[in-house]
């Protein structure tokens, strides 16, 4: 796999010692792990909310963080699109202003910014939501608005924290497909936290399994199902669902 981004991070957050390397290319990377294993912390660290004690974070040819060289770009200069768990829509702004938030400052009054916010909403079939308030949206609608808001600034990487977890089963099936298509179209690398093998298969994601602040295994869903390295991996991927074959054929079995 040609990796276009990587994050190598060592840090302590509370009781958790985080020591991981994750990387990926245009193919989405799924971050899987039990609660408290440090997944969200890693995403926020890549976004620039936490400063690692050591490590390197690079996306494309841009170095976002490098402890050895003293580089630490603030979040606003990192070019990352962050969609937190629960989607983090600004409750005091209408949908269009949420999406246009990243275009504000220099150009909020200009109609071009509003037009491009609306265009991204429409690409996600959410143009009709533009004047709604976030608290009137369904889970699936919120997810699309949050994704639109992250995409509108044309980030170099998308960080999605359980983008499908808040949805009921039916919405989840529909949104999972949509998200997969959208990620493939946009060609933006994505790091996606999820607990669901269906998501991983639909996104055709490369998997990193994280436990207690470390990456314990990586590979495709099939490879993990076949050769689980830990009990957790066996539990998540060992179910027959993972090998039912409703997903594209796996290109490269076996852990990397």
């Amino acid at each position: 796999m040609n990796s276009t981004w990587h994050a190598e991070v060592r840090m302590r957050v509370g009781a958790l010692q985080l020591e991981v390397r994750v990387d990926g290319g245009v193919r989405p990377v799924a971050l899987v792990g039990p609660n408290g294993s440090g997944k969200t912390t890693l995403l926020r660290t890549i976004a620039g909310a936490y400063r690692p004690s050591a490590g390197v974070i690079a996306v494309g040819d841009r170095v976002l963080f490098d402890s050895a060289r003293g580089i630490d770009l603030p979040p606003e200069e990192r070019g990352v699109g962050y969609v937190p768990q629960g989607y983090g829509l600004f409750p005091h702004l209408r949908v269009l202003d949420n999406v246009g938030f990243g275009l504000a400052g220099s150009s909020r009054r200009d109609n071009g910014a509003r037009a491009s916010a609306l265009a991204v909403l429409e690409q996600l079939d959410a143009g009709h939501l533009a004047e709604r308030w976030p608290d009137t949206l369904s889970g699936g609608e919120r997810q699309r608005v949050a994704l639109a808001r992250a995409l509108v600034t044309e980030p170099h990487i998308l960080l999605l924290d359980e983008p499908l977890a808040a949805l009921d089963a039916a919405a989840r099936r529909a949104m999972r497909r949509r998200l997969a298509v959208r990620l493939a179209e946009s060609a933006v690398p994505a790091l996606v936290i999820t607990h669901d093998v269906h998501d991983i298969v639909a996104l055709n994601a490369h998997v990193h399994v994280m436990e207690e602040g470390r990456i314990v295994q990586r590979g495709s869903a099939d490879a993990l199902a076949t050769h689980p390295a830990t009990e957790f991996v066996a539990e998540v991927f060992g179910s027959p669902l993972a090998t039912r074959g409703n997903h594209p054929p796996n290109k490269q079995p076996g852990a990397r």
Binding site: E76, F90, P91, W133
Partner: protein, 281 residues
Amino acid sequence: MNRQANLPDALGAGRWPSLAAALPMLVLLALPVVALALASSPAELAAGARHPLFLPALGLTARTTVVSLVVVVAAGTPLAWWLAASSGRWARGVEQLVDLPIVLPPAVLGIALLQTFGRNGLLGGPLEALGLQVPFTTAAVVLTQVVVASPFYVQSAAAAFRRVDRDLLIVARTLGRSPAGAFFGVAVPVALPGLVSGVALAWARAIGEFGATLLFAGNLPGRTQTAPLAIYTALESDVQAAVALSLVLAAVAVLLLLGLRALPGGRLGRVVAAAAGAGRR
């Protein structure tokens, strides 16, 4: 406002006896307000309002409390933000310091302020060298109000800031906002209902300030005689003026209370954001 539904019957069995037990206290809360409202005829009230103490005292209260509120909000908002973001021993210590004026008796506070700003006080020497006299001036009135009112604002604002989801701020930063941009663009509007109720509580406390002001600022008509002090003075000569002043202050307090109750919850930030954005559309 979110209200819990009535308890299931089995759990609510003790409700009426509980209310009955509280009845004397409720009567005690209600009766003085009723008595105050019934104390005067409109004609007597009008006469009281013409008393020479009346307007200057109300005017001084209005001016000094507005200045105090500006100071409290300007200094208290950054402090509340810091308190909300910090969890260390220092933050806990500062929090208790902020709460101190709530538990200190006003008279003690007045003495303490005199010991600080008075001629023989801690800062007396330097202030005198600068030609500044603080005690028994309007500045002393404002200083006292700031001290007694700030805890109410800071605590309310800190609680509101704590409820702002950290992820909203991270998102705002990744969307290109500076720390200040995320603060004013997200944290303040989202926390606004809490900030406004803090302002209302602080204002009520500043308007009612009496004891510390009397000791530290005195009771000089036109300079340090705020409405509560005027009530105290008027009571000796003209009860009707005292009652009229009291009714005005009670009305302001009730309005503040009703205003707090009617706060449009999470929608307040929207109203402000919409107003701010209206010109830009």
